[in-house]
Amino acid sequence: MTLSDLGRDDWTRFTLKQRLQRYVVFAACALAIGWAISSIEVIWAWVWDAPSQMGDLFGRMIPPDPSNLGAILRVLWETVNIATIATAFAVILSLPVAWLAAQNTTPNRATLWIGRFILVSSRSINTIIWALLFVAIFGPGIVAGIVAIMFRSIGFVGKLLGEAIEEIDKRPVEALEATGASRLKVIAYAIVPQVMPTFWAVSILRWDINLRESTVLGLVGAGGIGIILQGAIDTFNWREAATVLLAILGLVILGEIVSAWLRRRIL
């Protein structure tokens, strides 16, 4: 504060120039949104129609039809298996990728980029697109679903694990190097114990996510509950579709409970 500030009673957060800049930015954003809405071809009649359509659909869905419940639950179990098997394989395969992609464990520059490339390519492709690809390779069925989820999960788990490796306390590493331990033993004793909590947390989180993702795999023929759901929708069997949706909701809630329990037990 200088002496000339004494006695002042006016204060503004922004100068006039800053205020004008902000108005221009707001106007530009509004224009961009307006242009985006006007450039997509929306049939507005259908939008205004939506509430009554929703009510109509809902009316056709109740009461849910449980006659096929046995088959639905069996396929739901298959869905759980897809998620669990895929998560298990993905977690194992992501370990070497995380090791490559972490700056402080990767052997050299080239391997660092290989590791990062694997992570990026795995993460940039959606599970459904991986599934389309693997249905073409393995044919329809749960193998394609497992491999698709696995490919997507490797990037997720590998990235978070690699970051955990980069953030460890380096002092124990230094201490064990000083004892004359080899690189592998230093990793096993000084790095692995430090990233173990992250490893379990990320694995459980990914299993939770995979449980949800595996419910839609059936839409592209890669196994799981989605096949029955699509069959029901295609045949306008809305009451069975409602049962399937409720079953998925139940599964997701159950998955949430199991993963919360696992987190409490392990971490």
């Binding site: 306390d169 002092r171 201490a175 000083a178 004892t179 004359g180 033993k185 004793y189």
Partner: protein
């Protein structure tokens, strides 16, 4: 015997941190290195076990030249050099026994290390040493459950598990309270006598250096300017070691050179 001659360490292109340093440690004496922060004490210690790469000069331990070793040879030489750290540098999430046994990692197979199947004689030695320093009852506790003084005892036992030919201690008491820190210094001195082990300690506390060590080396900006028995360290010597700044030193050197 540890013999350091003409040791130079330079980081990047700057002023050397260690300037043509010579130091010989014979027998099983406890030697302390004192000096202000930035004098190069820590760098000197880390050059010995090559956690820091020396720029030039020679370091020999019982006839083995350490500065040119690589890979497996370097690891074999490091097994013979124990080190104790200021921050203890334990693996917090492992048990005390695992931390102690990690001092043997240079000796046992990878499989035995991964499976925690330690040789019987290593386990016996671990219990003996832990009993000696008073932490045997903590063997199954996790390291992060221990207090500072107890953790440093784990650090000391880990280093001794290596059956070292020399023990380096980098400010082993700087993170401890005064009483615990005296206990650790006393322990290092006693263990040196019992195991006939030379010990080299970096230390900030001059009183402890005088009390617990046989010889004091005073460093100032990369040079050894004092090397004598503790009782020879008088006020005049203290002033030489601790006063001044690197800039003043450099100015003095330039005047001497011109």
């Amino acid at each position: 015997m540890l013999k350091i001659s003409d040791l130079v360490k330079r980081y990047g292109g700057g002023e050397p941190v260690l300037k043509n340093l010579d130091l010989t440690i014979e027998g099983e004496s406890v030697v302390s290195i004192i000096g202000s922060s930035g004098a190069g004490k820590s760098t000197l210690l880390r050059c010995i076990n090559r956690l820091v790469e020396p720029t030039s000069g020679s370091i020999t331990l019982n006839g083995t030249e350490l500065t040119r070793l690589r890979g497996a040879e370097l690891r074999r030489a490091r097994r013979k050099i124990g080190m104790v750290f200021q921050g203890f540098n334990l693996v917090e999430r492992l048990t005390v026994m695992e931390n102690v046994q990690s001092g043997r990692l240079g000796y046992i197979s990878t499989w035995a290390a991964l499976m925690r199947r330690y040789p019987r004689e290593d386990i016996r030695r671990a219990y003996e040493l832990m009993e000696r320093v008073g932490i045997a009852h903590y063997a199954d506790k996790r390291a992060d459950e221990l207090s500072g003084g107890e953790r440093q005892r784990v650090g000391v036992v880990r280093a001794l598990m290596q059956k070292p030919e020399i023990l380096l201690a980098d400010e082993p008491t700087a993170s401890l309270d005064p009483k615990t820190s005296e206990q650790i210094m006393g322990l290092l001195r006693d263990l040196s006598r019992e195991l006939k082990l030379p010990v080299l300690i970096n230390i900030h506390n001059v009183h402890e250096a005088k009390e617990y060590t046989d010889r004091i080396v005073g460093m100032r900006y990369g040079r050894i300017i004092f090397d004598d028995l503790p009782r020879a360290l008088d006020q005049e010597a203290m002033d030489r070691i601790y006063s001044g700044s690197p800039a003043a030193d450099r100015a003095g050197e330039m005047r001497a050179a011109s």
